[in-house]
């Protein structure tokens, strides 16, 4: 700053250090707990020096929680959501910005309305949808008496029910979370800043609309995509409520959900060391993504605000 304020500067650093310690304390503590044996972790108070049981606990958590499969599921889900979101919202924004068609405003308002509508609010209808994708068609089927027709054709009575369930499947995990107004907005905002001359030049050179999207808009929005990849990966990985509802098979669930089975209940042996070792494994991938792609992450978070 402009003037010299040694006391205040010292205070600044002290407070900063304190802040970092307070924010970091839970994680340090978790790490320490994950290295201790069960006897040490149940001691009151727990020692703050790391023990030597780290690998044992990690292995135990890995096998007991079946974390290998679940981490793989989490990974599929997170990448699926990220990829789907970016593709869908980019094409959506492309259509809203560059094409003039009849219901453009309607489409835009519809996207706008769902802007911040999280899954948490629409769990019931989304679940009904996922449980039976043809559900909405069933009344139509009944009204038209198609059952009667089918049995007439087949010559004997058969009940036909339309059913296609997404429960316990990757499609079910990913699809309901793909639609994203926030990403569409970000792309729309960005496409509006792309100079019109580029579009005209491309047209003059005989490029089709899709070619313009692929050859010009896609390279231009590279930084935006990188930022979104980080944010959406973290978002997808950390989903809780949706996987909890839609998966009943432990082989299909995600790591964040699977981890909850490791938390000792009051009646169990308090094996917090294993639960916390599992927690360490599960939270590592998103943390690594954020730390290594920090620049994009911050950009992606701060930019939509403007």
């Amino acid at each position: 700053m402009v003037e010299k304020t040694p006391i205040l500067d010292a205070l600044t650093y002290i407070f900063l250090m304190l802040g970092i310690v307070v924010v970091g304390f839970p994680i340090i503590y978790t790490f320490v707990a994950a290295t201790l044996s069960i006897e040490e972790v149940s001691k009151v108070p727990m020692p703050l020096i790391p023990g030597d049981q780290f690998w044992v606990n990690i292995q135990e958590a890995w096998t007991r929680g079946d974390l290998g499969t679940q981490l793989f599921n989490s990974f599929i889900m997170a990448t699926g959501i990220t990829f789907g979101k970016i593709v869908v919202s980019m094409i959506g924004a492309f259509s809203i910005v560059y094409f003039d068609y009849r219901f453009r405003t309607v489409a835009f308002v519809a996207v706008f309305c769902t802007l911040m509508l999280p899954v948490e609010v629409r769990i019931l209808p989304t679940y009904e949808m996922a449980a039976n994708l043809f559900g909405p068609l069933q009344p139509v089927w009944d009204i038209l008496h198609l059952n009667g027709m089918v049995s007439w054709i087949a010559g004997h009575d058969i009940e036909v029910a339309l059913e296609w369930s997404l429960l316990d499947s990757y499609t079910g995990l990913i699809l309901p979370l793909v639609a994203s107004a926030t990403c569409t907005f970000l792309f729309r905002q960005f496409f509006l800043t792309v100079p019109e001359e580029l579009c005209e030049a491309a047209k003059m050179d005989g490029a089709s609309a899709m070619m313009f999207l692929r050859k010009i808009l896609l390279p231009l929005s590279k930084t935006n995509i990188a930022a979104l990849v980080v944010i959406e990966f973290v978002y997808g990985w950390n989903q809780y409520l949706w996987p909890l509802l839609i998966t009943t098979n432990p082989k299909m669930t995600t790591a964040v959900i699977g981890l909850q089975h490791l938390i000792p209940s009051p009646e169990d042996v308090p094996e917090w060391n294993i639960a916390l070792a599992g927690a360490l494994i599960v939270m590592l991938p998103p943390i690594l993504v954020v730390l290594f792609m920090q620049r994009w992450f911050v950009k992606g978070l701060v930019d939509p605000e403007k």
Binding site: D9, G19, N238, M283, V298
Partner: protein, 256 residues
């Protein structure tokens, strides 16, 4: 719609679900709980985030390093954050819980006491949100022209005065945005925290609205009521979105 227990028959009952909802003392209690929870979490997270960001902005060196060290809790899932704090504040093993018991002399027991459980979920939710707020405040402060602050320093304004008279007012758009985002976060994304830490208990003391939608719909199987609660929440969030965009538009006009 009201369904019979076996789901064989549905009756259309107009708006009775909503009327039942708003005359249900449990739902009204849940609204109050959500408000308390949301406001306290937002307040803790915002004030702490703002404080650290101010401190970080004062330093000349090592800003990227400091940012790296404060950014990562955002990547931790709310459910895992809840798990960590459950351990820290566990009445029999948690270090923080023991410290509270011994130093403050409070009879800390979040498993049995509603107030303590509330404090626990607030801490677990706020912890993760601090780093989010920190990123925004730091970015906002760095966007403030240095010349303004230097001019004020020339005129003899102390660092505190400079903060309250210049930085803080100029930060108000960021503050507004962050507050809205924090409220949305505490209303909806904290489901994971509640589900891992308290499951709405003890005695419904941390049963926030989103958790109640889940509980009534998927555990209690009262689908009609759950859907009505979803509609209430949906109205709420659309209102917040519209208000925010109105505000953002106004800001743009002022700037132009």
């Amino acid at each position: 719609m009201r369904s019979d227990p076996f789901g064989q028959r549905n009756t259309f009952i107009w708006l009775d679900n909503f009327i039942n909802l708003f005359t249900d003392p449990l739902y009204l209690k849940s609204i109050v709980i959500t408000l308390v929870f949301s406001m306290s979490t937002a307040f803790v997270a915002i004030s702490f985030g703002l404080f650290i960001a101010t401190m970080a902005n004062r330093t000349l060196k090592a800003k990227p390093l400091i940012r790296t060290m404060l950014i990562w809790p955002y990547a931790v899932a709310p459910a895992i954050s809840g798990m960590l704090w459950l351990f820290l504040l566990h009445p029999s093993y948690g270090v923080v819980a023991i410290a509270i018991k011994n130093w403050l002399g409070v009879d800390w027991n979040p498993v049995l006491k509603g107030r303590d459980a509330m404090v626990m979920v607030i801490l677990a939710s706020a912890w993760r949100e601090v780093s989010y707020n920190f990123i925004f405040f730091l970015a906002g402060m760095q966007a403030i022209p240095k010349s303004l602050i230097e001019a004020a320093a020339m005129d003899g304004a102390s660092p505190f005065k400079r903060f309250w008279k210049i930085t803080f007012p100029l930060l108000s758009p960021t503050l507004f945005f962050v507050t809205v985002m924090n409220i949305i976060y505490t209303f909806f994304d904290t489901f994971g925290v509640i589900h891992t830490v308290t499951q709405g208990g003890p005695g419904g003391a941390t049963n926030i609205l989103v958790y109640k939608v889940y509980q009534d719909g998927f555990i209690g199987l009262n689908l009609g009521s759950s859907a009505a609660q979803s509609i209430v929440l949906m109205t709420l969030i659309i209102t917040i979105t519209v208000v925010q965009f109105k505000y953002v538009e106004r800001k743009v006009q002022y700037a132009g």
